[in-house]
């Protein structure tokens, strides 16, 4: 593995957000303090202070951290949605982020139409989607409901459909945010099989989760995010311990 170039490199990533300190939305409020039109009161809030990491091809990396530790921000930076305030992200390979399942789903469209919408947003070709359509529907176990509008699906059904499309997306790197917690036990087992397949196919996966069980079962390595700093504690057990102890 040392011979490989890292597939993802994070170099001194910092991310600040502007945190306003006073509420001033109306015209009157501006009128009494005209200078605020140009400079709002507030501070720079550091969400990520220093994130350095190298992830190698074929690794299954878990990232754990308490709420508010910066996990989602880090994933969004990895996915190229946010730009870091400073630092650099290098990715070498096609990446599909699953920050949320069913991106682009529209409640008014039918299940079938949503498969195409979501699939194309995930970077698939319509032609490939047509070929894989039956497979997607079979995996989701929603054969009977594909022509019904999505708004009539239960939330579990929506997630199942979304997940079934997501696993068809072909990439080298997958970013998964808390998507393990979908569906009933039987469907979860199916999802775990997909993760095992990613692993045996040598895909690189970054998994952000609160579940110590999933980290233990799937990850080769775990990183611990606390107060905007990413720690490599050496072993998965240590990360889980640190996470539990806060």
């Amino acid at each position: 593995m040392e011979l490989d170039k890292p597939i993802i490199e994070l170099k001194n990533i910092k991310k600040n957000f502007f945190l306003p300190h006073e509420k001033h939305d109306t015209f009157i409020e501006y009128f009494s303090h005209p200078e605020r039109l140009f400079r709002r009161a507030g501070e720079q809030y550091e969400v990520l202070k220093d994130v350095d990491a190298k992830i190698y091809p074929g690794e299954f990396v878990g990232i754990m951290g308490r709420n508010g530790s910066g996990k989602s921000t880090l994933l969004k930076i990895l996915a190229g949605i946010y730009t870091p305030t400073s630092g650099k992200v290098i990715t070498r390979g096609k990446m599909v982020p699953f920050l949320e399942l069913g991106v682009g789903f529209n409640p008014e469209l039918s299940g079938r139409e949503n498969v195409y919408m979501n699939g194309i947003i995930l970077g698939m070709k319509k032609r490939d989607l047509q070929k894989k359509y039956d497979e997607i529907v079979a995996f989701s176990e929603l054969e009977k409901f594909m022509d019904a509008p999505l708004k009539n699906y239960s939330s579990g059904m929506q997630v199942r459909l979304a997940f079934s499309i997501a696993i068809m997306a072909d990439a080298e790197i997958y970013l998964l945010d808390e998507v393990l917690a979908v569906g009933d036990v039987a469907f979860q087992q199916k999802c775990f099989e997909v993760f095992r397949k990613y692993k045996s196919d040598g895909k690189t996966v970054i998994l952000v989760t609160h579940s110590a069980g999933s980290v233990k079962e799937f990850c080769d390595r775990a990183l611990f995010l606390k107060d905007g700093v990413l720690h490599d504690l050496g072993s998965i057990d240590k990360v889980i311990e640190a996470y539990i102890n806060g």
Binding site: K76, A79, G80, P97, L109, I120, I121, G123, K125, K126
Partner: protein
């Protein structure tokens, strides 16, 4: 980018699907709505004001172009915002969002052209091949103009919601500053000069000329429209540069 075109097609077709979802007549509305709207305008101007044929068809054409312009501007303005849910979750070429929103108004225009053709059965128009070229050039320049504006406005709108209301007012102003219901020659000379500064004035004038009175089209018309054409081209280029520069930093402000 890899599936730029597929994404564009998907966004556009979804928009049309959603527009007629849950309606009984469905896709028929796509023709029925402009047909009914134009019928009202046409009947009023031919029966009450007894306007001549060229005026009536010119009026329809003018309204069609202004509709494309205003709807395109508003679609483009809100395009990024209305796709925020997708933009915040996945990285793809954001331009597609703006382009698809503006293209929808172009497609609507061509659908309206079918209605225009239906009306021309009773009130003939006289396009020529050269005239149609001039017409197409005018339409392309509206499209690029709107696209260029939208590359700016869609980004600015995320930080400054006020421009939505402002735009609606400005669109009204632009509508009345373009000779749609009135003819340029009706105005006093000093006012004409200002109306001519509006690029849409010349665009509408040449689109009408090419479509309704094709035989009258001269080489200098192309030259004049060509000069106007530079405005959309410059705006489009500047807009694209602005958009690409700002888009990466805008996500956290949605």
């Amino acid at each position: 980018m890899f599936n730029y075109y597929e994404l564009l097609k998907q966004f556009i077709s979804t928009d049309f699907k959603l527009r007629y979802k849950n309606s009984y007549l469905g896709i028929i509305w796509i023709i029925l709505k402009p047909l009914a709207t134009f019928a009202v305008i046409y009947l009023i101007w031919s029966n009450i004001f007894k306007m001549d044929a060229d005026y009536k068809m010119g009026l329809l054409m003018g309204i069609m172009i202004m509709n494309m312009f205003s709807e395109g501007v508003l679609n483009g303005l809100t395009s990024l915002m209305s796709k925020a849910g997708v933009i915040l979750k996945i990285n793809f070429s954001r331009e597609v969002v703006v382009i698809s929103a503006v293209t929808i108004s172009l497609i609507d225009f061509f659908i309206n052209m079918i209605v225009f053709a239906i009306f021309s059965l009773s009130t003939p128009v006289h396009p020529t091949f050269i005239g149609l070229l001039l017409f197409l050039m005018a339409i392309v320049s509206v499209f690029l103009l709107v696209l260029g504006l939208s590359f700016f406005s869609s980004i600015i709108y995320i930080r400054l919601r006020d421009i939505h209301n402002l735009t609606i007012v400005i669109l009204q102003l632009i509508f009345w500053m373009t000779p749609i219901y009135y003819q340029l020659e009706m105005l006093p000379l000093n006012l004409q000069r200002y109306i001519k500064l509006n690029p849409l004035t010349l665009i509408v004038t040449y689109a009408r000329k090419g479509m309704i009175n094709g035989a009258g089209v001269r080489g200098e018309d192309f030259l004049q429209l060509g000069i106007v054409f530079l405005i959309p081209v410059i705006l489009f280029t500047a807009g694209l540069i602005f958009f690409r520069k700002k888009i990466t930093k805008i996500a956290e402000y949605f």
